[in-house]
């Protein structure tokens, strides 16, 4: 999957970078004020890059004593209105779940990058998509959501960063960028540029010192009878707005497809190659690639299931997103699954063979 940088297209700023460095620089360009992180493989390039780049820019870098501390440093910087982020990999993200619940309760913007590795437990350092449930369901306590972006190329990973900060500020939510060990480590040509910031709501809630105004309080505790219920309804209304306006999804050759494969992130790239080869063999295959994993593209998938087709979900896990696909399809068409857990990576051949086998009965029906 390693590609050489193309310098023939005249785009001078196109450089070859690994995903971890690309996302780090993209965050700097997006106006990141403070980065807090703790070492963990396979995302160490982010922390190392930030340790040099942030001080160069006169901005804040701290190597924290733990992921617990890192997410709470993000909490502190964010509470004062600054753009703050952390990055980690699966076991470290588990430790951050407490902080993410508090961020949700206090409605603070934050960006958390998870370069997923194999689990459960210490697992291994190989690429995985085993944290889908944790990311999309909220691994912390309480009724809350985080926006989850699932990029599939180094360029898209970099492009996710300004988007993540803008969405975080717009909705006062945590945005999780869900990458994996392949995406973090692989090098691809990438164009990094500063993007204009959209108009965002003023951070009049931020703690800046109560100079000439009443005190601001950032809190997640609501003890008064009914107050927490009211607060939760307010959060839910916000989440509904996100579901209505922020779904991002890509489809590929689905119009005439007999089989639609659903995959995200790096798995979607493998599937895309398998779809192309299936087409060469005369099998009408297509791909739906959710880019926002929450909000999930329920409608797009539901529409595609209006006609009879076979749906196949491919993941680098034992099957997590497949549950969302089933919810979206609501029993209209069969939904099958192929995946490999614990750092196993499906090959194009594996996916192609699944497509062949599943479409065999269709061939028998239509001689």
């Amino acid at each position: 999957m390693r590609e050489k940088g193309d310098t023939s297209n005249g785009v001078s700023e196109r450089t070859l970078r690994c995903g971890n460095e690309a996302l780090a620089e993209a965050a700097v360009l997006a106006g990141l004020d403070a980065y807090f992180g703790y070492p963990i493989t396979p995302q160490n390039e982010v922390t190392a890059y930030m340790s040099k780049r942030m001080p160069e820019q006169g901005r804040v870098f701290i190597q924290s004593e733990s992921e617990l501390a890192a997410i709470n440093m993000v909490f502190g910087a964010s509470a004062t209105g600054k753009r703050a982020m952390t990055s980690s990999s699966s076991p470290g993200i588990s430790l951050m779940q407490e902080g993410m619940s508090y961020l949700a309760g206090a409605e603070l913007p934050a960006v958390v990058v998870n370069v997923m590795r194999g689990g459960p437990g210490l697992g291994n350092i190989a690429p995985s998509q085993g944290d889908y449930f944790q990311a999309t369901r909220g691994g912390g306590h309480g009724d809350y959501r985080t926006i989850v972006l699932g990029p599939s190329t180094v360029q898209e990973l970099a492009d996710c960063m300004p988007l993540a900060f803008d969405l975080a500020d717009k909705y006062r939510m945590t945005v999780v960028v869900l990458a994996d060990g392949i995406l973090g480590q692989m090098m691809e040509p990438v164009v990094l540029q500063e993007k204009p910031r959209p108009e965002l709501p003023p951070k009049d809630w931020a703690l800046t010192g109560a100079q000439g105004r009443e005190q601001n309080i950032v809190r997640s505790l609501w003890l008064k009878e009914g107050a927490l219920e009211e607060h939760n309804y307010k959060l839910q209304a916000k989440y509904r707005q996100v579901q209505e306006t922020e779904v991002r999804c890509e489809d590929y050759k689905i119009d005439d497809a007999d089989i639609i494969v659903i995959a995200y992130g790096v798995a979607a790239r493998i599937v895309r190659s398998a779809v192309n080869r299936a087409r060469q063999e005369g099998v009408k295959a297509g791909l739906i690639r959710p880019i926002t994993l929450w909000p999930f593209p329920h409608e797009q998938i539901s529409r595609a299931a209006e006609e009879f087709r076979i749906f196949l979900t491919v993941e680098m896990s034992c099957g997590q997103m497949v549950e969302d696909v089933k919810l979206a399809v609501a029993g209209k068409v069969p939904v099958l699954f192929y995946g490999r857990p614990g750092g196993g990576i499906p090959t194009v051949d594996d996916v192609l063979e699944n497509i062949r086998q599943l479409t065999l009965p269709l061939k028998r029906l239509v001689p």
Binding site: E65, N72, M73, G76, T80, K82
Partner: protein, 245 residues
């Protein structure tokens, strides 16, 4: 009639939720008075812990945040590093700072974070019903030490101030008490010094430990609890300045 004493402006006119004889009210007032005397209300951000003083922002009229149990020094770090011109203080109890938040306070001091920590030590978990804290003294009866704290198996009282004072990143550590007027005045002086170190840009963490009575969970009258601070607590937690560089 001439007013000889008035509530300091940064302390809200608010009925207290604290139990009769609790030391938090005194400590809150000292913090508010120091903020007003230094005229820093407009640039101060406070951090409330999880514990009895979780609602500190109901009394202290400054910008405040309430954070996860024990994590205040990490939150303070994020705030101070991104806002070096602001005065950042955390207000934490012994459960918050000396149990679940031990890692955060040690590393904030270790990094020499320029923050002021008000550490209220009442030798017990108050909000959850009077359980043993790391600072519970030997023999003390609590909800989870029904026969009194036994050092074998339940450990010795954790002397946080002594622990922190050995770290180069901690510039000022003093243990005070609010059990009598003279001690209250000394505590105020210490809190003020902690804030002044931030104001004059001294690099490093300052921590003011305040021994504070909890009559409810010590099962004593308020007057008896004040006495117990002096006669029992100060034996395990000697008062005085441990470090001022």
């Amino acid at each position: 009639m001439k007013a000889v004493f008035a509530r300091t402006p940064s302390l809200k006119d608010q009925p207290t939720h604290y139990c009769p004889g609790c030391g938090h009210g005194i400590a809150h007032r000292l913090v508010a008075e120091v903020i007003d005397e230094l005229d820093i209300r407009g640039r101060t951000i406070g951090i409330a812990p999880v514990g009895c003083s979780v609602l500190a922002y109901d009394y202290l009229d400054v910008d405040m945040v309430e954070v996860a149990h024990g994590r205040a020094p990490a939150v303070a770090t994020g705030m101070k590093r991104t806002n070096p011109d602001k005065i950042i203080f955390s207000y934490q109890g012994d459960g918050d700072l000396a149990a679940i938040g031990t890692g955060e306070i040690i590393h904030a001091a270790h990094r020499g974070e320029q923050i002021t920590v008000i550490f209220i030590n009442n030798a017990v978990f108050g909000m959850t019903g009077g359980q043993m804290a790391p600072t519970t003294i030997p023999g003390q009866v609590t909800a989870t030490t029904p026969v009194g704290r036994e050092v074998v198996g339940q450990g010795y009282p954790l002397q946080v101030s002594e622990l922190l004072a050995v770290l180069p990143g901690a510039v000022y550590v003093e243990r005070c008490s609010v059990h009598n007027p003279a001690r209250i005045l000394r505590a105020k002086k210490a809190i003020k010094h902690g804030f002044e170190l931030q104001l004059n840009g001294t690099h490093g963490l300052s921590l003011i430990e305040v021994l504070s009575p909890c009559p409810t969970y010590w099962r004593m009258t308020p007057a008896k609890a004040m006495e117990w601070v002096e006669t029992e607590m100060t034996k395990v937690f000697p008062l005085g300045c441990l470090k001022d560089v």
